[in-house]
């Protein structure tokens, strides 16, 4: 996501995430940096597990790391935000069911994006592509969570994937 200033780039980055989470839960997304030199943290409700709307059994924690970089795109920018890591923990009845991780900050752990799913592979790292928070929310919907507006969610999911694909350097995968 891009902007004329670093702050605007961060706000453009946060907005689709804020909109997506807002259809499934209540709370606050925080970002701690508008400075290109610093890696920033985007965190939902202090990184705690947050109950999602629906049957009350599904909760999610979200944290992401980002960098503000310059872009040569003449129509946007000159600043854009790129994600440099994420941790999404989807729990059912307070037990982690699907943990999507990408934490290249550690050289001694799996550095590529991966999934922990103890039901499939206890403590194992299942390789994945880049996962968007919208994908995790979509999975939450299959587990018993519900957005407060199904039509709005479907439209937002498609819009956010399209926006992400326009700026993605990894690709967004099939959809």
């Amino acid at each position: 996501m891009a902007g004329k200033t670093p702050a605007k780039a961060v706000k453009a980055f946060v907005e689709p995430i804020q909109n997506a989470l807002g259809l499934w839960a209540s709370g606050k997304v925080t970002a701690d940096s508008y400075t290109p030199a610093d890696e920033g943290l985007l965190v939902f409700n202090g990184g705690e597990q947050v109950k999602l709307r629906g049957d009350g059994k599904i909760s999610l924690s979200v944290s992401m790391r980002y960098e503000i970089v310059e872009t040569r795109d003449p129509e946007k920018g000159p600043w854009k935000v790129k994600t440099t890591g994420y941790m999404y923990d989807l729990q059912v009845d307070d037990v982690s069911a699907f943990e999507y991780h990408w934490h290249p900050i550690s050289k001694s752990h799996e550095a590529g994006p991966h999934l922990h799913c103890s039901a499939a592979l206890d403590k194992g790292h299942i390789p994945t592509g880049r996962i968007m928070i919208e994908d995790v929310l979509s999975l939450a919907g299959q587990l018993g969570a519900e957005p407060n507006d199904g039509d709005r969610w479907r439209d937002l999911y498609a819009l956010n994937r399209e926006k992400f694909a326009r700026g993605a350097t990894w690709g967004v995968g099939p959809g």
Binding site: E15, N19, L21, T30, D32, V43, M87
Partner: protein
């Protein structure tokens, strides 16, 4: 909008990290940072360790 946005200070970001270290590992953020930098958690498979590490503010 059910989810608000707030730009927070470095101190508040550290508090989020410190709270997570207490909540998930029973230690404070400074202790976690010291142990992480000293390699104590190298190869540790506990996802709670990585959750806390990923909440550590940059440069601190």
């Amino acid at each position: 909008m059910a989810v608000d946005f707030e730009k927070i200070s470095a101190d508040r970001s550290w508090k989020i990290f410190d709270d997570a270290a207490h909540r998930l590992l029973g230690i404070d953020g400074a202790t976690f940072a010291r142990r992480w930098d000293g390699g104590v958690y190298d190869g540790d498979a506990d996802t709670g360790v990585m959750k806390v590490a990923m909440l550590r503010p940059s440069g601190r």
